[in-house]
Amino acid sequence: MSASSSMQGHTVPASGMDNTIESPGQRAPLVLGTGDFHTVTKQVCRVPEHTSVPMAWYIAFGVSLMLLGALGVAVNYLIFTGVGVWGLNNPVMWAFDITNFVFWVGIGHAGTLISAILFLFRQKWRTGINRFAEAMTIFAVICAGLFPGIHVGRVWFAYWLFPIPNQMEMWPQFRSPLLWDVFAVSTYFTVSLVFWYIGLIPDLATLRDRAKGTIQQFAYGLFALGWRGSARHWHRYEVAYLLLAALATPLVLSVHSVVSFDFAVSQLPGWHTTIFPPYFVAGAIFSGFAMVVTLAVPARELFGLKDLITMRHLDNMNKVILVTGCMVGYAYSMEFFIAWYSGAPYEQFAFINRAFGQYWWAYWIMVSCNVITPQLFWFKRVRTSIPAMFVLSLFVNVGMWFERYVIIVSSLANDFLPTSWDEFIPTWVDIATMLGAFGLFGVLFLLFCRYLPMIAIAEVKSVMPEANPHWEGYAKGRGHQNHGDHGGAPAGAAPAFQDPRPGQP
């Protein structure tokens, strides 16, 4: 029995209704098909609690495992043989490795944007998608972290990146953007993990309290840390969550800025541009949102979450893709303008060569997928069509991978001295590592879908109208006293409440 189902005058938003219609004076419902907290719990917990999952999950998991195996082979071959197994040459000394690194870090950014920035802007629709977008962030940063780790060649010296006191009296060189990157990405991973876990605690408690088996009770119980929904706990929890959101917001903007410094601080034409930090951040959010759509569309179909990840959520995400796609398009054209305006012949050559030189095909794949096809999202028909948005989001993923490839490889391949010009041709190890990273991501993400709540249960409940103690459905007979935190209370009229319990910080 639910608290709200007995309330009069309340119409439950119908399952599968179109909540993308903008009706002034009325908020579009974010949870469909129920006015009941228990139904939300059941819907989300169904996947972790069931012993059988859809066949599609097993197929996807099998494919991901195979790709992960390919990654293992490729990485081990690289470590035992050396970076010569990649197609790198002089002058193209960075190619697939750093392309993949920047691609995966960028994917992660949408998760933090959804969890932190949209939280600060009070965008309540984020609650439907923030949990798995954050999970996507963490797994994407794991994939990203692999590439700088293995591209150093002698992997066993990777610890030299960290300022560890040692008998060699060696220190990292802190004036290098590559070292800023080490700190930015490792901080980003740590903070994203903490943010995600803090958000998970109440939902792990829900799973613990519903668990039938001993193993589940123990595992969920251990990680739920004894959470019991106490209002005194919730108070500090909400403050901590707000602080984490406020800290993650500048962090996420800084991380891709620092990644762009890897290029912008160098002297190479095509890299040495001041537009890089904002351009990289916009591109990161663009690609990340596309990845969220790519993952959300099959997940909501397979696991029956269409009433929680509604068409309005997807519509909103497609709008973000459209906006950030336009920003990226603006950055592409502004790069050309500045190359012309600078009057520097090397700079002008780098950009003309990028569009019409030996990597013209990569450049135009990038422009088509990132600037041209997302314009279809101006049409609501396209924004609310599942097949259209899935295909377009895949295009964006491809286009953003090529963006990094174009920036890195086309700038390096044709450098200052024409005698040293060369072409990068990937080897099978390059390709296996790139595809294998998708396998690593897929394995982690599918395990997350299987064993953890894919949707933030407590947060979704808190944006339902029934969660508001002043909701009209509850206002029958008994008036509710003013509790001092609403605009109507005269200043000073609220009693000076004190927590009477001793020693409670």
């Binding site: 639910s2 907290f37 901080t187 800084s254 029934e466 103690p469």
Partner: protein, 206 residues
């Protein structure tokens, strides 16, 4: 589980009860957030000290209704952030700008790197790492500070083994009053909770 019955021994305080299991307190169930909030205000006004509300999600305004004073967590986080920023500067200037030795588990000596003629103490180049360490330490202190102030992890708690209380993380709303509260009288407190509109009041054994 003992369902609270109508009073028979109205004057016996909890400490003198001779039941087999010790009474931890009472837990009362309310229908929805609105009723929980009204009841919470009434419990606060009647002067109870060791009591709590339990809900599956944070309820806006319940901390005011309960009279919870604002946590000092932001101050702790600010301190940690300032420490991270300072640490970032000291780490980089020590390792890259000077050559004196300090003891950090082993004796370590800084190395004044001369990179493309930049000053040894090049503050602008140190800003990104200072910023990242500021964020890192403040975020970790926000998360672990919240858990510490909440006295979590607390894997054993009498409420957690109380049957039916598991729905507090699903769709039910509870108020618990602990037996150690000076005002706690098992029967009187139970009557009081009933009078607030609780649909059930149950004894929680410790």
């Amino acid at each position: 589980m003992t369902t609270f019955a109508t009073p028979s021994s109205t004057t016996a305080p909890a400490s003198t009860e001779t039941s087999v299991a010790q009474t931890w307190g009472l837990v009362a169930r309310f229908a929805n957030p609105a009723e929980l909030m009204q009841a919470a205000e009434a419990v606060r006004k009647s002067g109870y000290r060791y009591w709590d509300c339990h809900s599956p999600f944070p309820i806006h305004g319940i901390d005011h209704a309960m009279g919870i004073s604002r946590t000092i967590l932001p101050v702790v986080v600010f301190g940690a952030g300032a420490a991270g920023c300072t640490l970032g500067f000291l780490l980089q200037s020590f390792t890259n700008s000077f050559d004196f030795s300090i003891w950090a588990m082993v004796w370590v000596t800084g190395y004044p790197f001369l990179i493309s003629g930049k000053p040894l103490l090049s503050f602008p180049a140190f800003v990104p790492v200072m910023f990242e360490l500021t964020i890192l330490l403040s975020a970790l202190s926000a998360a672990f500070g919240m858990l510490a102030f909440n006295q979590l992890p607390e894997l054993y708690h009498p409420l957690l083994k109380h049957p039916g209380f598991g729905r507090a993380t699903d769709d039910r709303f509870f108020i618990s009053i602990e037996a150690r509260d000076p005002q706690f009288l098992r029967s009187k407190t139970g009557e009081f909770l009933k009078s607030l509109g609780a649909s059930s009041v149950e004894v929680v054994e410790s």
